[in-house]
Each structure stands twice: as C-alpha cells, then as structure tokens.
C-alpha cells in the first residue's frame, strides 16, 4: 500500500502525521510512504530523521491582510505548487492520502481534487483535524475527504456528518511508554532531583523562554531543582530563540557549566525522555502538547497562546485546570521598553513553580488527575478508519449534538465589549462575577491592551483593552494605562502634519482617563500626578477635559496642589470644553479665596456657557460651606445675564406626557399601552 502524507508548518500538524505513519509502518512493514512538505519548514527538519522520503512543493500561507500584491503572490505560488504536486501524485500513485492540514498541504489537496475530477487518481483521502476550530485549509478541502478524523467534537460543525469520526489526538508511540527511571538515566539526572521541563511548542515561545530565564535567579535557590529548557529553533527578523536566550543568560551571569541545575536545549529529538523525567512541565496549550503531557501523566503549568483561533488554547487550559491537572498562567500586558507588550511575569512564574515544588502532595494529585484525563486510543481508531477506507466499508454516521456556541466570548472586540458589559450587569457588578471567569476576562483585556492592531472604529483593539480595564476594575493594569497616558513618542510626520500628535492617539488617551481611570474604585497619588501633568501638557482637548473632570471628582486631600493647577489651567486654556470642566472641578474642590477672585473675572465673559458654569460652581461652593455668602451678595448683579442659550418648553407636549404617565400608572402597564409607547416597543 502506498501512503502519501502531507501537512505541516507547525508541530501540531507534522507530529500527528508522523505518529500515524509510524504506526502504519509498525503494523504493515511493507508499506511505502512519501511525505510532501515545504522547504525550510518543520517537516524538512524532522521527517528525514524518521526515515521517510520527503519531497518539496511551493506553498504560502493564506494572506491575512487585504492587499492586492499579497493575493497575487499567493495565487501564483499556489498555481506553481499545484502543478508540481500533480506531477508527484501521478508519479507516486498513492492509495491513501493522509492530510493533517496547514497551508503546506494545500497544493497536494488541490492537485488531488483536479486529478480526481479528471479521473486520473483513485486515492482515498483521510483528513485529520487536530484543533477544536478547523484551520482554513481543512475547512476548504473537507469536501474532498472520504473520511475526516477529529480531535475535538466541536470541530464537527464544519464538516459533513456522514464522514466524520472522533478519534482524539494520536500521540507518538514513544510517549505511551515513558518511564521515569529510564528517562532520568538516559538524561543523566540523579533520582532525587525535582525536574522542571519548559517547552514552547515546536516553534519555541518567546514569552515562555524570556520569563523562564528571568526567573532563574530565584529558581536557582530552590534546592534539588533541575531545569530542562527547550528553547526551540524559532528564528526570524525580530526574535532568534537560541541567540536571544544565550544573550539573556549572559546578562544575568548564568554562564559556564550549569548542567547541575539548568540545561538548555535548542531542540530535543526525544522529548518523551524529558516528559518522562519531569515532575512539572511548563508549556503552551496546544492540543498536541496537552495530550502528550496527559498521556505521560504529568502536572503542568499552561501558558495559553493569546492569538489562537477562538481562544481554544485558553479553553483547553481552563478545562484541565478545572480537573485539577494543571494550572493556567496567563500572559499579561505590561509596559516594557517604551511599549505595551504581552509577557509572562517572571515573578508569578517563579512563585507558581516554587509553590508547586514545595508541596509534593499537590504535585502528586495533579499527576493523578492528569493521567485520568479521558483520552481515546487515537492511533487504533485512526488506523481502523484508514483500513475501513481502503476496504471500502462505510461507517455508521455519527449523531453529535453541539452545545450552542461554546460559552466563550465573541471574537469581535466591540461585540466582546458589549457582552462583558452584559455579563457585569447580570452579575450585579464586578464583585459578583465568578473568580475564574473574572480572571479570564481580565486576560482578554490584557490581550487587547497589548495588541498592536489598529483597524475599524473606534480605534482598534488597544482602545477596547483600555475600556475593559476600566469595566473590570483591573487595578493591577492601571500602571500600563498611566504609561499610555504619559507616552510622548510622536507619531509619523505625515500624521503630525494632518493634525495628529502622539503614537497613542487622542481618543485612546481620553478613554484611558475616562474609562480606565474613572472606573477604578481606589486612586492614589501617582494617578493624581499623572492627571495633573495631563491637564497641563497634553495637546488634545478631550484629554485635558477628562483629566480636569477626574481631578474634581476624586481627590479631596492635597487639594491645594490640585487647586493651583486648575487655576493655572484656567488662565492659559483655549478650549471651551476644557474650561468648563475646570470650572466644574473648582466648584467641587475649591477652597481658597483665589477661586472666587478667579470666578469674578468671568462675570462679563462673552461666552454664556462659562458664566453659567461659574454661577453653578459658586452655588456648589456655597453648598459646601467653604464660601461666606456675604461675599457674593453683590455679585449676583454683576454677572452678565444675556444668553442665547435657551431650552424650549412645549406646553402641549408636556401635558401629553403627563397624561400618558397618569394613564399608564392607572392601568398599571395593562394590556393596552398608549400608542406611542407601543410603537416604541415595536420599534425596538
């Protein structure tokens, strides 16, 4: 039998294919294999080592941004790739094609589709989908497959139910047979050590690497610790996993022979030995990794990938945490090197690791729970599906019911904002939310806060992040908000000519004050200082107005400093909206005589809104009893009262409204509402 394997780009696609191929080779030693991949991707490094012939075609990921050049290049590459794939298919003539997804398999699948239409190929196709949310390619070629194997039930929504089978995730056979002593022996680790293994997925996660190295000084002090750090070989313009980690270690002074407590690996061929030797594993939340960890029955700290489709990594992680098999460590937004970045806090990582290693009993419970996570015998199931494919037997169709839309949140940021507001309203305030849910919502706020994506009104995801920080009263993030507010890096000169100012635009800074700060329950001096500075120096009028409003509403100690700042602002302010807010704030917190004399200078001001505000402020001062009424006794005559501002009163409308109220009150909202109210209800 001839098997063609394709799929790749990341480990989540390559390793299942290899696992399936290994198992088939074990059961049918005479089968022939061919792996089709893309140059310089993971499969080019891993597959030849496993002893399978590898051929290359050209392919590109589907362009995520809308650009004509991007689409043109993609189309061209695809055409070339499809043509070479057709040659490969016609020469190799496979009986079964096993496709695990990823853009790498696009040429082969499309080529097969064409050949099947032409009647030139009679291979059977087994499509494997390792994620809860199918990738773009698998979604597109689902119709070509004769059988579709799913790791998660939820993915079945996108495929034809008659051809779907739930098979779970096929772990490489080596993982099923790990043993602690043998693994430790092979790695040369004494039996009394507590081993912590950190892996960032096949591409090496930058945040995990950096957080681990930064926490090493603390972890080094734990007795008996042994850290195995697999950095991965990720290398692109911004981040080179191996080199950056080496530099970071040098800066911390961890050089020389550290193999008694810390070992670094670029890439580990026999990862099962590391897992087998481990007492605790730090990893990402991909389906493959988590299955491998639970097959080995080890406790884990999971750092979900923020950009996963439908946030499925966080979902997987929370499921395992609920079973007690793992702990979730979310990435946080933080102000690093002049920008907002999403990182793992090294202190929290070190805290969590030392807490777990200090209590072997807890570790033991987590290990048992991890082992007990329900799994299927995926390799058996998959091979069963493939052989029934070959023979031509049709399986019974599945009936699956899908829970309505995972209890997750919408992915569109504005929809998510509305959903969060609704949740908070339902729970009666932030304090009423379940702590796990609150921490997950705050994690989403962090993701948005750290996002660099600007698109759509209003102003992209960072704006939504700022609003969420306020809504969720996420006071730990206030320092990030303050840094955003104070950031004075200028934007590009083109934008500055058109009227822009800083890298973080005016409306974002205004939301930082109005929503990020206003909704916090407690304030402190650093916030006050930042607001004073914003009032004095920010170039955008809405920010100054919001700062003045906040200063008036919140701070009652150290009023002199604020009062002086407000008075200074009044003298030099050009924008009427800001002046109005400053006058209101002075009315709320003003004390000294300087306030009254400043107000007096407004009595004859041409703008009636200023005079109106000044009069209201004086009334407030009288209410608060900081002003002696006799002082303003004559001022009433001195204020110019000519004003073009008026509010019309329509007597007919007023009496109609009162009539409607009386009628509804009398009928108690009975069956017949007044016509206008009915129309309004219908209009909703």
């Amino acid at each position: 039998m001839k098997y063609l394997l394709t799929g790749g780009g990341t480990g989540g696609h390559v390793y299942p294919a290899l696992a399936i191929a290994d198992e088939i080779r074990r059961q049918e030693p005479e089968s022939r294999f061919l792996y089709v991949g893309v140059r310089r991707r993971l499969e080019s490094r891993v597959v030849p080592g496993k002893g399978y012939p590898l051929r290359f075609v050209r392919s590109r990921p589907f362009p995520r941004t809308v650009s004509l050049a991007g689409f043109a290049l993609f189309g061209l590459t695809l055409v070339v790739g499809v043509m070479s794939a057709m040659l490969i298919l016609m020469r190799f003539r496979p009986d079964v094609i096993i496709c695990t997804g990823g853009f790498v398999s696009a040429p082969v699948m499309f080529a097969f589709g064409i050949l099947r239409k032409l009647g030139l190929s009679r291979a059977k196709v087994f499509l494997y989908e390792p994620n809860a949310h199918p990738g773009l390619l698998n979604h597109a070629v689902g119709r070509l497959a004769d059988r579709i194997g799913l790791a998660f039930e939820q993915a079945g929504r996108w495929f034809d139910m008659k051809r779907v089978a739930i098979v779970g995730y096929p772990v490489r056979r080596e993982f099923l047979e790990v043993d602690r002593e043998g693994a430790r022996q092979r790695l040369g680790i004494p039996a009394d050590r507590q081993v912590v293994v950190a892996v960032g997925g096949s591409s090496g996660a930058r945040v995990i690497n950096e957080a681990l190295v930064a926490s090493l000084p603390r972890l080094r002090r734990l007795k008996n610790i042994m850290i195995l750090h697999v950095t991965g070989r990720y290398n692109d313009a911004e981040y080179d996993a191996v080199a950056n980690t080496a530099r970071h270690l040098e800066r911390l002074g961890i050089t020389g022979d550290t193999s008694s407590w810390y070992r670094r690996y670029d890439y580990m061929e026999d990862l099962q030995d590391a897992y087998g030797a481990a007492d605790l594993i730090i990893c990402r939340g991909g389906a493959g990794t988590l299955t491998e960890v639970s097959v080995c029955g080890r406790p884990s700290i999971i750092v979900p990938l923020a950009t996963a489709a439908e946030d499925h990594q966080a979902f997987n992680a929370r499921e395992l945490a609920k079973r007690g098999a793992a702990r979730v460590l979310y990435q946080e937004a933080s102000w690093v090197e002049g920008r907002v970045q999403s990182i793992v806090s090294p202190t929290r990582l070190a805290d969590l690791v030392s807490e777990l290693l200090d209590s072997p009993r807890v570790l033991g419970e987590m290990a048992t729970a991890s082992q007990a996570v329900p799994r299927r015998d995926s390799l058996e199931l998959i091979l069963g599906e493939i052989s029934s494919l070959v023979v031509g037997r049709r399986p019974p169709p599945l009936t699956l019911e899908f829970p309505l839309r995972q209890e997750g949140l919408p992915s569109d940021p504005n929809a998510l904002l509305r959903a969060v507001k609704g949740r908070i309203a339902d729970a009666g305030g932030v304090a009423g939310l379940d702590p796990l849910e609150l921490s997950y919502l705050r994690y989403r706020a962090d993701c948005y806060l750290a996002s660099e994506a600007w698109y759509e009104i209003p102003l992209g995801r960072r704006n939504v992040g700022v609003k969420l920080v306020g809504l969720l009263q996420y006071s730990e993030r206030v320092d990030v908000i303050l840094s955003i507010l104070q950031d004075t890096t200028k934007t590009s000169w083109v934008r500055r000519i058109c009227g822009g100012d800083f890298h973080h635009p005016g409306i974002l800074r205004r939301n930082a004050v109005e929503l990020g700060i206003r909704l916090q329950e407690e304030v402190d001096d650093s916030i006050r200082d930042v607001l004073l500075q914003a009032l004095a120096t920010d170039p955008y009028f809405e920010v100054r107005a919001a700062a003045a409003c906040e200063l008036g509403r919140r701070f009652f100690e150290s009023c002199d400093q604020i009062e002086a700042a407000l008075l200074r602002a009044l003298e030099s302010e050009r924008s009427s909206r800001v002046t109005i807010q400053v006058i209101k704030a002075l009315g709320r917190i003003g004390r000294g005589p300087a306030v009254l004399s400043c107000f007096r200078s407004f009595y004859l001001h041409p703008d009636w809104q200023f005079r109106h505000e000044v009069v209201s402020a004086i009334r407030r001062l009288l209410e608060r009893r900081v002003l002696d009424p006799s002082l303003v006794a004559e001022d009433v005559d001195r204020v110019l009262d000519a004003s073009p501002g008026f509010e019309p009163a329509f007597p007919l409308k007023d009496s109609l409204r009162e009539l409607a109220e009386e009628v509804t009150a009398a009928t108690d909202g009975g069956p017949r509402l007044p016509r206008a109210a009915r129309r309004q209800a219908r209009g909703r």
């Binding site: 058109c498 009227g499 409306i507 974002l508 909206r577 019309p648 329509f650 509804t664 909703r684």
Partner: protein, 368 residues
C-alpha cells in the same frame, strides 16, 4: 402642460393670441414659482396632517418614556416639497425638452431613494437604521452614471455638439480643457457630492431650505443667461438653446422652498427628511452640470461644501486615521450647537452667509 394647452389654443382660437406670453421663459418661471408656492402654503397644512395621521413621523421617542420636553416629534414632509416641485414642473415646463426630462429624472430618482431611507427609519423607529451608506452610494452612482452617459453622448445630449465635455471655471471666459471621457467621472462625483452635502446640511429646522433656494436662484439666473442669445453673447457665456427651461425649474424650486419654509421654520412641525433633501440635492447636482457651472458651486454653495468638508475631516481624517476629533461635533452646525449658540441663531447666521456667497456668485457674471 399649460404650455401645450396654450399653444394649441393659440393656434386654434384667434382671440387667445395673448397666450403667446406662455412662450416667454420669465413668465413661465414666475408663474411656476407662484404656483408651487401657493400650492404648498394653501394645501400644506392638510397634507402635513395627512402625513401625521398615516404615521410618517420619527416616533423614536414616545411620550411615556420621555425624560425632557425639548424635542418635537417630527413629521416627514419631504413628500410635500417634492409634490410641489413636480406639480410646478408638470404644469409650467415644456415636457419634451431634454433638460426638463433630465431634471425630472433627478427629482424622481432621488426622491424615491430618500423615501426608501425615510421609510426604513420610520419602520425601525430610530434614525440609525435607514439605508446603509453603501446602498445609498450605489444608487446615487447609478443615477450619476446614467446621467453622465446621456450628457456626454452627442446624440442623447441636450447640449449643442462639442460643448458637453468642455470644462468651465468661473472668472474665465473660455473653457480650460476638454475632458471628453473624463467628464463622466467628474459628473458622477459632482452629483454624489452635492446630493450628500445637502443631506448633511439638513440638520436643524430651516437650515438647508434657504441656502438651497439661494443656490437654485443663482443657477436659475445663470441658466437664463445661457439661454438668451443676446445676453449670453454680451456676457460671454456659451449659448445653449433650450436651457431656459432649467431657469423655469429653478424658480419653481425656489418657490417651493419658500413655501416649505412657511412650515419648516423654527420650531418646525414638518421636516424635509431624506426625501426632500436628497431630491433637492440631486436636482441641484443635475442643474449644476446642465448649466456647466460646476465650480461655481464651491462659491455659491459654500455652506454645503463647508458642512461636507467638516464631516470628512472629522470622521474620515480625524477619528479613523488620526484618532482625534477636530471639532466638538460634526457636521459643523452641531459644533456650534455644542458651543452654546442657539439653534435659531445658527440657522439665521447660515442664511446670512449663504446670501453673501450667492451675491458673490452672481458677481462672477460680470467679473470675467
């Protein structure tokens, strides 16, 4: 229609030769204006009540849930305005004239477009759920394309051959360039821009009606000048026979606008809505192109240009690209409202500015 009746009667009956008066453009212009004006004033009250009874009002704020009493419920009276205009045109214009047909097409198309938008708003009870912006743009584009094609093609065009694609600029006697095919996108852009800017300007009671009437009056004068052989020769304008009907239409619209102002002034019990403002905007766009004084609109219609530009700056440049506001609110009349100016003052000040700009526009008749 009266034109045809008059001609027929004059030819058949000797004693009615005084009906020759109906040939004169100025007579028909004044007659048309008076007709539409009196029709709207006399019958407007009843028609508005009819609209109110059939529920054509913005009922998003019911009485039972009203926090404050400062908002009138608005009746959409755009149909009244359009009816007045159509009545005047049908009675007093030469209906076989291609200019008249083009203007009629503009009024009807844009009025229907505006009516669909208003209807959707009324149905959903809120002013956010009218036609989507792209749907409106597509429909306007369709009209613009049809109109431009008819205008530019020599066989269909009402203009004398060779004139249709010349580009004229105020203050210059001769056309600066002949655009040929390029004139079509130019026409489409002009019509869409003008129709939308009139729509934007209709924000406060009476704000759009008077500037529209000023603009249409000035264009009526320009149309009359172009149609009169001796005057156009004297003032060095291109002579376009038949465009005098556009002058008649302009004065009919002038009269209709004044009649509408009778009811629409502050505080208004009837507003134009999208029906009226789209119809007027589309008609002005068409007239501007027919009289070949497109750039004059930048002067005479400066109010509308300013409103549209303020919306563009605030929304497209400010909020979407730079993340900041330039005005307190857009369009510019909302900005003045939030600065504390009373509605009536804003409206009358805009009228004054529109009047001054119209006079400047008229001055370009002589300053060449």
């Amino acid at each position: 229609m009266l034109y045809y009746i008059g001609n027929h009667l004059r030819d058949t009956v000797e004693a009615m030769s005084y009906l020759r008066l109906l040939d004169s453009i100025s007579f028909r212009a004044i007659g048309g204006a008076m007709t539409s004006l009196m029709f709207i004033i006399l019958f407007g009250g009843r028609i508005i009540l009819y609209f109110y009874r059939t529920g054509q009002r913005d009922a998003s704020r019911g009485y039972a849930h009203f926090p404050g009493g400062d908002h009138q419920s608005k009746t959409y009276g755009g149909g009244l305005l359009v009816t007045g205009i159509l009545l005047g045109i049908l009675l007093w214009c030469q209906l076989h004239n291609r200019f008249v047909l083009l203007c009629l097409a503009a009024v009807v198309w844009f009025a229907v477009l505006g009516y669909i938008d208003d209807y959707l708003k009324m149905r959903h009870g809120s002013s956010d759920r009218g036609l989507s912006e792209s749907a409106k743009l597509i429909l306007q584009f369709a009209y613009g394309l049809a109109f431009a094609v008819v205008f530019v093609f020599e066989e269909l065009s009402p203009l004398p051959p060779g004139l249709a694609t010349q580009l004229y600029i105020p203050f210059l006697k001769t056309p600066i360039v002949d655009l040929s095919w390029g004139y079509i996108p130019f026409i489409i852009f002009t019509v869409i821009a003008i129709a939308n800017s009139v729509n934007i300007a209709d924000g406060i009671d009476g704000l759009a009606v008077v500037p529209v009437s000023f603009v249409i009056g000035v264009y009526g004068v320009f149309a009359y000048v172009s149609s009169h052989a001796r005057i156009s020769d004297f003032l060095i304008f291109p002579f376009v026979p038949g465009v005098g009907e556009v002058a008649v239409i302009c004065s009919i619209v002038f009269g209709a606008c004044l009649g509408f102002l009778w009811f629409n002034s502050y505080p208004a019990n009837v507003i134009m809505g999208d029906t009226g403002s789209m119809a007027l905007g589309g008609l002005i766009g068409t007239v501007v192109v027919l009289v070949k004084q497109e750039f004059l609109f930048l002067i005479v219609g400066g109010i509308f240009v300013g409103e549209a530009v303020s919306v563009l700056i605030q929304e497209k440049l400010g909020i979407k690209r730079l993340g900041r506001r330039f005005f307190y609110s857009a369009p510019i009349h909302h900005h003045y409202q939030s600065r504390g100016l009373a509605d009536t003052k804003i409206v009358i000040r805009f009228w004054i500015v529109a009047g001054i700009l119209a006079l400047c526009g008229l001055a370009t008749l002589k300053i060449r």
